[in-house]
């Protein structure tokens, strides 16, 4: 077991190295750089700019160095925990990332729990009661969630939240709780706001989760061992949970890692619409302005989270399914 984990962790390193190169190159691909956006700001303030002077500015941002050097400079810092400096926000990237990543993870994880809390019971129900009215109803509702773009859903939910529940638009807190120390009231205010992004981000994943579970479970339910168990008089609920469900749920455990990037990118769009202080809006601003250190470090962190998520899901799978071997 220990050797297996070690091998997997060792195998992650080349993957991450490759990802870091791709991130760096892709961010550099579009035209312009942080100097272009700085120039636009300067010009808006009435500064006249000539071509020779732009070079000076590029030099100040180390942009005149060769690409390889810029890459090594960034990744070298990243490895030792210094993610560099955001020219867009004029602050160290470390500060920006940590204050935002927490909210992103919170929303993502709660959305994941929400998805499963809804989709797994629904999937079980619609498999056990296949072609019943409940099956059709649940499937229809879930498919609505899948078909509605999340930003539109966010707008609708935000409207409902404001109109019916008086929840303020924008942000994760009411104005009076925005910057006070954590207290019980603040937590409840936070939870009162959290459900909007949680539902919006989570809902899009429910349909696929439910349908996959339903299909897997249907496969299992007709297998001889289930029939045998039923013939022997095992209680239906116990039978369902103990045998077919355990097998049917395997694909989910193995895709936890893959779910993470989907949720996080969904979270980005939803956060922009809802005005939440998470990584999504900052990442997009950074990408638009080509703020290399901020954008690159965000993406790199998300990549690391995904890779770790994959590892965790493999371990979970091994734990839940004794048939898996560590070879």
């Amino acid at each position: 077991m220990r050797a297996y984990i070690a091998r997997r962790i060792f195998g992650m390193l080349p993957t991450l190295a490759l990802i870091s190169i791709i991130i760096f190159v892709v961010i550099q691909l579009p035209p312009g750089d942080i100097v272009t956006s700085t120039l636009d700001r300067l010009q808006a303030e009435g500064v006249e700019v000539s071509n020779d002077q732009i070079q000076n500015l590029r030099a100040q941002y180390n942009l005149d160095q060769p690409m390889v050097f810029q890459y090594l400079h960034w990744i070298g810092g990243f490895v030792v925990g210094d993610m560099g400096y955001s020219y867009l926000y004029s602050r160290p990237v470390n500060e920006l990332v940590w204050e935002r990543l927490g909210y992103t993870l919170l929303i993502t994880v709660s959305a994941l729990i929400f998805t499963w809390a809804i989709a797994i019971p629904a999937g079980i129900y619609s498999a056990v009661r296949q072609y019943s009215i409940g099956d059709y109803l649940l499937t229809t509702v879930m498919l609505f969630g899948l078909a509605t773009p999340s930003f539109l859903l966010a707008l609708i939910v935000m409207y409902i939240g404001y109109e019916w529940f008086g929840i303020t638009i924008g942000g994760l807190f009411s104005p009076e709780y925005r910057d006070v120390p954590w207290s019980l009231d603040r937590v409840s205010d936070f939870l009162g706001h959290l459900w909007i992004p949680m539902v919006v981000v989570g809902l899009s994943g429910t349909a696929s989760t439910m349908r996959i579970l339903r299909a897997n479970l249907l496969d299992e339910l007709n297998k001889p061992y289930v029939v045998t168990a039923r013939a022997k008089g095992v209680r239906p609920i116990k039978l369902l949970i103990k045998y077919p469900l355990r097998i049917a749920i395997n694909p989910f455990i193995s895709t936890i890692g893959l779910l993470l990037p989907v949720l996080i990118s969904g979270e980005a769009i939803v956060s922009i619409v809802l005005g939440l202080p998470t990584t999504g809006p900052a990442l997009i601003q950074a990408l638009i302005n080509q703020d290399m250190y901020l954008a690159g470090s965000f993406l790199m962190l998300l990549a690391i989270l995904t890779v770790i998520g994959m590892l965790l899901s493999d371990l979970l799978l091994a734990w839940s399914d004794p048939r898996i071997r560590y070879e």
Binding site: P30, P31, G32, T36, S37, L39, D40, L42, Q43, E45, G46, V47, E48, V49, S50, N51, Q53, I54, N56, L57, Q60, Y85, Y89, S90, R91, P92, E95, L96, E99, R100, F151, L152, L155, M158, Y159, Y162, T168, I169, G170, G171, P175, R178, D179, A268, I269, I272, V273, L274, G275, P277, P281, I284, Q285, I288, N289, Q290
Partner: protein, 643 residues
């Protein structure tokens, strides 16, 4: 990509159909009656015989010197819009209003007439007869919010130690080029330039709030005043990579440390987190109302930091903000009017400054000579201009509240002439067709669109950034109008950094920007719409001619005689010390511009929504909104109050 898709499908789009039923009546710009005092130099307490001063109740009980001591020798008296206000309240705004609400102070201000410069922090100023020197005298007794006096050194610090420092400003600002600032005494100093620069006073009036900083605070972060190693250690401890970055971030109030700097503005920042900034009244603020009460009336500001403009519009419409305008657009008016019905907000309709909200710019230096030649033909430009139905655009986009206009000076300008605004602006598709026929642009392949004489299709690609003014919807209409006379206009929405780069590289066939710099304050400095004096992403008409001028003929292309003439006039307008001559030159430049239609204007003076709480008083029903007059400053936000 994400940004554009979200801005297209917004609350507005969802709500627009609703409005068809609701019929948004009452989008009218009420003409506000502004107090006479707002057009004249503010008077001081002694001139008005005010001897008794009072302060906001929240200041009593604090360990501060008495209000008389804090106000200084002779405070400035500012009249409110109508009634005397009352103290108290916290105003809720977004970060985007940080330059519009906290009554930012400058040495001089611009009067509500948009052309007169009035004294403020400086009680007087003088331009030397040769136009090379501008001397300013600061009012006596003005203090920073920490009680230290405002002195000449605070101005010298920005000009000499920041703007002329090639680390801080690797690109010297136009207004600092060839200049230096010198001190005469603590309250008197001057800016001096190698060449005549009589318009420096306009810069100081319009841009002056950025021209001084509390030196006694910032000198601790400047290499001239701190030993090098100590400075780099200090900056590193703060988590910054250079002293320039620190000063810039602190000045722009981006960081927690910003609360350490004192200010002379009406409000001082006391808390700054990633999501919020809080301000409290500046106890040393140097302005009072006619009853001797120290301004501002409002005690505190809560600023939320919201990145998404759509969210700001939604918050404004639902009464979650007490003042909001900067991020609101003409297209938001229906949503806001809907919100107004709940009674939580008032929607004021101000007018944007832009003479034309959208300025269509043919690129006369485009590398494809055939297209450039076509642009250069007066008949072609005339045809494009008169093919546009500006009145209809005004109705569709601006609820009829804008003014159809070519790109010319603002009506407040001494250089304004009605004929400049209306030249070739009347809708006349028949004549447009006639002119295009005469140019030999005939539809040869029968697709309904005109082709070049040799049969090659004529298409024009217009690249634009949909930002600030309703450019996208305006251009959709323009492309329909042009198609009706057989011109194939292809629209291409691009990202702002791409547009910048394509502008630099002279790769755009046509582009648009909003037409600002149109008042007597900024037009004489940069008549960039009518003469090839500078180019950038907002102005891509004639890059090669500009380059020729900037490099003294080393790069670029020699401009035709009429352009050389315009450049000479622009230079003289900038450097003459004779105001009459300046106006005369301005009129000449605008006249040539109107006759030649260098750019094609659409609709200007467009409605700008300003959302306020129904309890907020002292805000004029109608005002002029723009960078030239710094949005609100002529309307004295420190006199606004909660009922």
């Amino acid at each position: 990509m994400v940004r554009s898709s979200i801005s297209v499908i917004t609350l507005r789009v969802i709500l627009l159909p609703v409005l068809v039923f609701l019929k948004i009546a009452g989008v009218t710009a009420d003409q506000a009656v502004l107090p006479k005092a707002w057009f004249e130099p503010s008077r001081t307490a002694s001139e008005l015989g005010i001897t008794k001063f009072s302060q906001s109740p929240i200041l009593s009980g604090l360990e501060l010197p008495s209000v008389e001591v804090r106000l200084g020798k002779d405070p400035l008296v500012v009249s409110p819009l109508a009634d005397i206000g009352r103290y108290g309240g916290t105003i809720r705004i977004t970060r985007n209003e940080w330059l519009t609400f906290p009554n930012v102070e400058s040495p001089m201000t611009i009067s509500a007439d948009m052309r007169t410069i009035l004294p403020n922090l400086a009680q007087s100023w003088q331009t030397s007869p040769d136009g090379r020197r501008l001397t300013l005298t600061l009012r006596e007794g003005i203090k920073w919010s920490d009680g230290k006096p405002l002195v000449s050194d605070d101005f010298l610090f920005v000009f000499n130690d920041l703007w002329l420092n090639d680390e801080f400003d690797p690109i010297p600002r136009r207004m600092a080029k060839g200049g230096r600032a010198e001190k005469i005494d603590d309250r008197t100093f001057y800016y001096e330039f190698e060449n005549p620069n009589p318009l420096m006073v306009n810069y100081v009036a319009q841009y002056g709030s950025f021209m001084f900083l509390p030196k006694h605070y910032y000198q601790h972060f400047h290499p001239r005043y701190v030993e090098k190693e100590m400075l780099s250690r200090r900056i590193e401890d703060l988590g910054f990579i250079s002293w320039m970055e620190y000063i810039e971030a602190c000045r722009r109030q981006l960081i927690e440390e910003s609360v350490d700097q004192p200010t002379v503005d009406a409000f001082q920042i006391v808390e700054r987190t990633p999501t919020l900034a809080r301000y409290i009244r500046n106890p040393y603020y140097f302005k009072i109302d006619p009853k001797g009460q120290q301004l501002p009336y409002i005690d505190k500001i809560d600023q939320q930091i919201i990145d998404n403009k759509e969210v700001i519009a939604a918050m404004s419409a639902t009464g979650q903000l007490d003042f909001s305008a900067f991020e609101l657009k003409t297209q938001d008016i229906p949503l806001l009017k809907l919100g107004e019905q709940s009674g939580d907000i008032r929607v004021l309709i101000w007018n944007r400054l832009h003479s034309s909200d959208v300025v269509i710019q043919p690129n006369y230096n485009y590398p494809d000579k055939r297209l450039a030649k076509l642009y250069w033909d007066h008949r072609f430009r005339e045809a494009l201009s008169i093919a546009i139905n500006r009145e209809e655009m005004n109705q569709i986009i601006y609820f009829g509240q804008g003014t159809p206009s070519q790109m010319t000076a603002h009506p407040s300008s001494a250089m304004y002439d009605k004929q400049f605004a209306s030249a070739y602006a009347d809708y006349d598709p028949a004549r447009a067709n006639f002119l295009l026929d005469a140019l030999g642009l005939i539809d040869t392949d029968g697709d309904g669109l005109r082709d070049y004489e040799d049969g090659e299709p004529l298409t024009i690609t217009l690249e634009f950034v949909d930002w600030e003014t309703p450019k996208g919807i305006s251009l959709e209409l323009v492309s329909i109008y042009w198609r009706e006379v057989g011109i194939d206009l292809r629209l291409k929405l691009v990202d702002s950094s791409l547009q910048s780069e394509r502008a630099q590289a002279n790769k755009m066939q046509m582009t648009v920007w909003h037409g600002d710099k149109v008042t007597d304050i900024l037009l004489p400095i940069s008549p960039l719409w009518w003469a090839p004096i500078q180019s950038g992403r907002e102005n891509t008409l004639w890059n090669d001619w500009v380059r020729w001028r900037q490099t003294n003929g080393r790069l670029g292309v020699k401009p035709p005689p009429i352009m050389t003439q315009l450049q000479e006039w622009a230079d003289e307008m900038y450097s003459t010390i004779d105001d009459k001559r300046r106006i005369e030159l301005g009129k000449k430049i605008l006249d040539v511009g109107a006759k030649n239609i260098w750019t094609i204007g659409t609709v200007g003076l467009a409605p700008q929504p300003v959302v306020i709480s129904p309890k907020l008083r002292g805000v004029p029903d109608n005002g002029i909104w723009g960078w030239d007059n710094r949005w609100t400053l002529s309307y004295h936000p420190s006199t606004w109050y909660f009922e």
